[in-house]
């Protein structure tokens, strides 16, 4: 039987496709590459690579330890490269307005019960549960795609990351 090689990308090894225009503007496709975006991002910047009204997908370069964060809705962290650790705390008091959107940074580690920890590698997807506090960490560098809602720390740099001609 044929042996197939499945090609995944990584920070150090990826190929990028693109839009071949026939009669169109390439900007309408907002074409970018997660590894290229992460390669040029500061640790834990939340760079939007996809947006549909209030919803966004953010690329995060996880490197070292982030601050504690919380969102009033579920978020999902898909690891595309490297190893990511997620610490979770069940807070004693509500951390975020239930109507708010996206995650906010917390001033410090919140008081509460330790829920546990997830260690996730390439292809693994972790739940960041609504209302809980979480902190991301990577001993090296990890690339994370976050499914969330646009929040105060979402970074928009479309002209820099997207194909324009």
């Amino acid at each position: 039987m044929t042996q197939y090689t499945t090609v995944f990308g990584s920070l150090d090894d990826y190929a990028k496709g693109g839009v071949e225009v026939i009669d169109d503007d390439p900007k309408y496709y907002a074409f970018s590459n997660m590894f290229e975006v992460a390669g040029r991002a500061a640790p834990y910047e939340k760079v939007a690579v996809a947006k549909n009204l209030e919803y966004v997908l953010e690329v995060i370069r996880a490197e070292g330890t982030d601050e504690w964060r919380a969102a009033p809705h579920d978020e999902f962290a898909l690891v595309m490269d490297g190893t990511l650790q997620v610490e979770l705390i069940d807070p004693d008091d509500g951390l975020v307005d239930s109507e708010a959107q996206g995650s906010v940074a917390l001033a410090s580690e919140p008081a509460g019960s330790r829920m546990g920890r997830v260690t996730a590698g390439p292809g693994h997807m972790a739940l960041l549960p609504a209302g809980k506090a979480y902190r991301l960490h990577s001993d090296g560098v990890a690339v994370v795609l976050l499914q969330t809602i646009e929040g105060p720390d979402t970074v928009h740099r479309w002209a820099e990351i997207c194909q324009t001609v």
Binding site: M1, T2, Q3, Y4, T5, T6, V7, F8, G9, A15, K16, G17, G18, V19, E20, V21, I22, D23, D24, K27, Y28, Y29, A30, S32, N33, M34, E36, V49, A50, N52, Y55, L57, H73, D74, E75, L78, M80, V86, L88, S113, M115, G116, V118, T119, A120, G121, G123, H124, M125, A126, L127, P129, K132, L145, Q147, T148, I149, H156, W158, A159
Partner: protein, 322 residues
């Protein structure tokens, strides 16, 4: 409005009719007739399209079976059309469209797919993985065509939500993904939090998909839906969305043909490799080509308000302005 069906023809296949549309098949082709015209398609292509349109409940927006025939979802009711999104048919005013209750057209499609799908042919499978759709009627394959679509309410693998896939659940690793790591994340949950510290291997999950071109929901952040799917050969339908749709290429490569949604005029080709992210605007239609089985994350905003927002100019057909 309910469908009618005839006794089997010389090849052993029933013919079906709903409204003014008539459908019949022979050994190689489907023939579709409506008051102002008729059309033929290869039967394997027709069955693959029918299968997707049924599985997705007519999906978002327009599902073109080819450049002539298709359906347009109005969520509760649905148009079946011929030539509606074809420039020549429109200019000649021979296009035709008829509205049906969702369940009525779905029932007609299901009966047609069941009667016309032969034993050994799986319309969800890649061509290398299944038998022939052609020839006289020989048995059925109702188990293959009635697979349940996965729809996670929070995330696959969370207790009480959609289960993970394994050999035991009847989902062996696909031949195209034999080299995909099957490790699971390490979960260290404190006592009492076992059901709330959750993670799973999405790539391993997708490597065990037994269908192609069939987006199913693995995670939901309110109306933001991750609908990954594994792709091989050609997307049977040409999808004309009624909202912006996003693609995240997780593995390998897919090339997309992009045409104007209304006329079918070519607009662009989009080549996507692992790690690439691209939007499909809401005024185009697209069809993908995957030379090797690949993992595609389709990302949808499932809000029912979007088609109306676009019509009123409150939402753009373009993903972002920059």
């Amino acid at each position: 409005m309910t469908m009618t069906q005839t006794a089997p023809n010389a090849s052993g296949y029933k013919s079906f009719a709903i409204g003014e549309f008539k459908f019949s098949r022979d050994e190689y082709f489907v023939t579709v007739e409506w008051p102002t015209g008729s059309h033929q398609m290869a039967i394997d292509q027709w069955l693959r399209c029918l299968q997707r349109d049924i599985a997705w409940g007519f999906f978002y927006g327009i599902v073109n079976f080819d450049s002539v025939i298709g359906t347009m979802n109005h969520y509760g009711n649905v148009d079946m059309f011929a030539g509606r999104f074809n420039d020549a048919y429109r200019r000649a005013e021979v296009d035709y469209s008829e509205n049906f209750e969702h369940d009525d057209l779905l029932g007609c499609f299901k009966a047609m797919l069941s009667d016309w799908t032969n034993e050994g042919y799986d319309p969800f499978a890649a061509p290398m993985e299944t038998g022939s759709a052609f020839g006289p009627s020989r048995g059925h394959n109702d188990e293959a065509i009635s697979r349940r679509r996965v729809v996670a309410s929070r995330m696959v693998g969370i207790p009480g939500d959609e289960p993970l896939r394994s050999d035991e659940t009847g989902h062996p690793v696909n031949r195209g993904f034999a080299d995909v790591a099957q490790d699971e994340p390490i979960i260290e949950a404190e006592p009492g939090y076992e059901g709330e510290v959750c993670a799973f291997n999405l790539f391993a999950y997708l490597s065990r998909s037994d269908v192609t071109w069939n987006p199913s929901v693995v995670s939901a952040c309110k109306e933001s839906l991750y609908c990954p799917t594994t792709e091989e050969f050609i997307l049977p339908v040409i999808h004309g969305n009624d909202r912006v749709e996003w693609f995240v290429q997780l593995s390998d490569e897919i090339q997309w043909d992009v045409e104007d949604r209304d006329t079918g005029a070519k607009r662009a080709r989009v080549v996507m490799k692992a790690g690439d992210v691209a939007a499909m605007p809401a005024d185009i239609r697209h069809q993908g080509y995957a030379p090797k089985r690949s993992m595609l994350l389709v990302w949808e905003n499932g809000s029912p308000r979007i088609p109306e927002m676009i019509a009123k100019g409150e939402a753009s057909v373009h993903p972002v302005d920059f």
